[in-house]
């Protein structure tokens, strides 16, 4: 067993703040209202911070340590389908794809949301549709993300949710 510090405070704060922001704007605030708008700006700021942190942050926060790599993702998938167990220190390759997917999707939701507040785009149907469609997509992906975290925690015998709270991964 070895304990490895992988998620710095900013990465963890970003993760849970994003969760809170998304839940509030999906289920609590009303679209078009001030609270919804400001939370949206908040989420956009969070993503901007994370993007910068991905360039200058510590090792496991950097994009360079988890590049979007389809070949590595397939290696990861091959491990799953053959029952081989080699836990990753930072983001797993399939997990990394989900990170980029969620970052991009949330960015699109934020941008289309902002567009709807401007005179030019207010009430434009395709912008609204895009905003809604990506909210649904992010909801589906969040469910998939949680399922995958539970599945991987059991498969690898590494408590992944705990590591996103404490910052430490306990690897076998």
């Amino acid at each position: 067993m070895r304990k490895l510090y992988v998620w710095d405070p900013l990465v963890r704060a970003f993760h849970w703040a994003l969760v809170a922001g998304l839940i509030l704007n999906m289920f609590v605030t009303n679209p078009g209202k001030t609270a919804h708008r400001w939370l949206g700006y908040g989420v956009l700021t969070l993503i901007a911070l994370r993007l910068v942190w991905g360039l200058i942050g510590p090792k496991f926060a950097r994009f360079r340590s988890f590049p979007p790599d389809p070949a590595a993702a397939l290696d990861h998938a091959r491990e799953i389908v053959t029952g081989r167990v080699h836990p990753h220190e930072g983001h797993s390759p399939l997990g990394a794809l989900m990170v980029y997917n969620l970052l991009a999707s949330c960015l699109i939701i934020g941008l289309t949301g902002w567009m709807l507040t401007t005179l030019t785009w207010f009430g434009v149907e395709w912008v609204e549709d895009l905003h809604k469609a990506f909210v649904t997509w992010v909801q589906l992906c969040a469910v998939l993300h949680i399922a995958a975290v539970i599945f991987e925690s059991r498969r690898l015998r590494v408590n992944l949710p705990k590591s996103m709270v404490t910052g430490y991964k306990t690897l076998p």
């Binding site: 070949a71 397939l74 053959t82 029952g83 081989r84 167990v85 469609a133 997509w137």
Partner: protein
Amino acid sequence: MTRPDRKSLTLFGLILFQAFCLAFFLFDVIEDFAGLYDASVPYGHFLPEAGATLGMAIGLAFETRYLIRLLRKQAHMERGLGVAAGELATLMEDYFRKWGLTAAEADVAAFTIKGYSITEIAGLRGSAEATVKTHLNAIYRKSGAQGRGQLVSVLIEDLMRAPLVSGEKPMGQGALAEGAGAKG
């Protein structure tokens, strides 16, 4: 780890793209489903759409199943080269399925056939040696083979009966032998 070929990469990309599309169709169908009650959406609109979405979901499921098989086969071929490797891997997969091995057991069986020791297999799979031994017991019980030697000879026997580079699968030995007029 082997670099995946173009085929599995393309398939992987296709699956991701279709999952994305399916999510949107599904969203649409669910919204329309609500519209059936107040008759704002006619059945003539809903049913074909729901059918098409279902068709897409089924296609996606088959593609995923195919990718899983492809990945397993690649994983078992890892260090194999040459003409016989592909044929042997196909043959192994067929037998593993016939014996009803689990994914983990099939992986251990493939390593065993290639001559890796229990310690080596445990290292390659990131599992304990005791686990590998449990898998081996299950493999021998399900296949009826007495040990590693017999496991290998089952495959070799089949390979010798069939031409190496042919489209034909050398499974179902009896049928193949009869078809070739070898028995009789």
